[in-house]
Amino acid sequence: MTTAQTVEPKTMTRTGDVAGRMAAIAEEVAGPAAADVDERGRFPIETIEALRAEGLLAALVPESSGGGGASLAEVSEGLVALGRRCASSAMVVAMHHIQVACLVRHGRSTLLQDYLREMSEHQYLLASATTEVGTGGDVRSSICALEVTDGRFRVEKQAPVISYADDADAVLVTTRRSADSPESDQVIVLCRPPGLELEQVGEWNALGFRGTCSTGFVLRATGDVDAVLSEPYADISTRTMLPVSHLLWASVWLGIASDAVDLARKFVQSEARRKPGTTPSASLRLAETTVIHQQFVDMVNSSLARFAAADSDVDRLSSIGFGVGMNALKVSASTLVVDIVRECMLICGLASYRLDSPYSLGRHLRDSMGAALMVNNDRIMANNAQMLLVYRGV
């Protein structure tokens, strides 16, 4: 037993039942607002405010820093629930937690440790600027570079996408380490007001995930150099950002698929009630789709377990097998969500095709089609193809 004196942190975040509380917000807040968020392509402010009020934006921050101390699995479960009701809200929350995970696992400086505490206290929302105009979508290379003078950094980035930047309290930005660094030598820096200036470029009017407000920006930022995460971005990406992104995105997509399966099941059951004694023709397809859905659920859960087992074991997190597996999760989940929604449309028929029916799957279909494109599956497959040249197998 330790007798070391510790200062009790000011805990703003209620702990416990993170998934349950996220699910309640999904039902009571995100669901009722989803159609308006989608139609107007607006930020799901009420969902974020509800999460904020519950202290859930700091769910992944350790309790010692004033956060909820939740596991990734708990947040994943909450995102599935949110994804069922409003995929845009769920994706915003997923992207936020990915940034939080990077700060929690890699933010070593006193400044960043203090920021985590402040973030928990004020329930800040974090955004991310990884892609850059001119790199062809390759997040592992940057053109912009940090300029450091007298302990202060300065950076300017042409970002084709910074989701929900206008509603975020800070942005984590990837950049070259210095003007002399090659494109692949990147770091992440935490950029926040008043040292953060965002100039919007263009609009976000997309097929799905309309509430993520993923517009382009010219980002200009200055700040203390201690806001730069000390480890190379290559390592942070391999050990945290990539696996956590794929796990939490997959959770959102699983939410979309799960709601589609729920609707399909309700549809088949209503058909069965209309003609007791005869099995509706779509019931076999429902049974088949339920098999695929269970594969999806089990894959997300086993991938969460794989990440939890690797924990902070650098060798394991950096191994080729782990990387190939986490990439396979993204490709598989983004494919399954579309497959499942399409099958559910066949089950529900025109009722799912109509936009004014309780079985409408229009938004599910539109949102699901984005999954394969956000970090294109072809790029991820190319990375796996490269890694498999040297992989020795399981």
């Binding site: 592992r140 660094s181 030598d185 290559a234 080729i320 040297v390 992989y391």
Partner: protein, 81 residues
């Protein structure tokens, strides 16, 4: 060619470094010198071909390829030299 010369030749051909290979010290961080993880795979394949061996699973990590010193140690371990 010595082991070191072969390593440097492989890096020159496949490392896609931002600087000439002659300018590298034995302990220079190759990833800091512009080698991408993509390029490091090609370096690894070329090393296996040049020295006629296969890196074991546990050697397949970034740190094995982070400098000329690290590569030399990896090659020595795998070839028993």
């Amino acid at each position: 060619m010595t082991v070191d010369e072969t390593i440097r030749q492989v890096l020159a051909e496949h490392g896609r470094l931002a600087v000439p290979v002659e300018s590298l010290a034995d302990d220079t961080d190759l990833f800091g010198a512009g080698m991408t993880s993509h390029a490091s795979v090609n370096v690894m394949l070329a090393l296996e071909d040049a020295f006629d061996f296969e890196f074991s699973e546990k050697m397949l990590k970034k740190s094995t390829f982070e400098s000329i010193n690290a590569i030399r140690a990896g090659v020595a371990e795998m070839t028993g030299a």
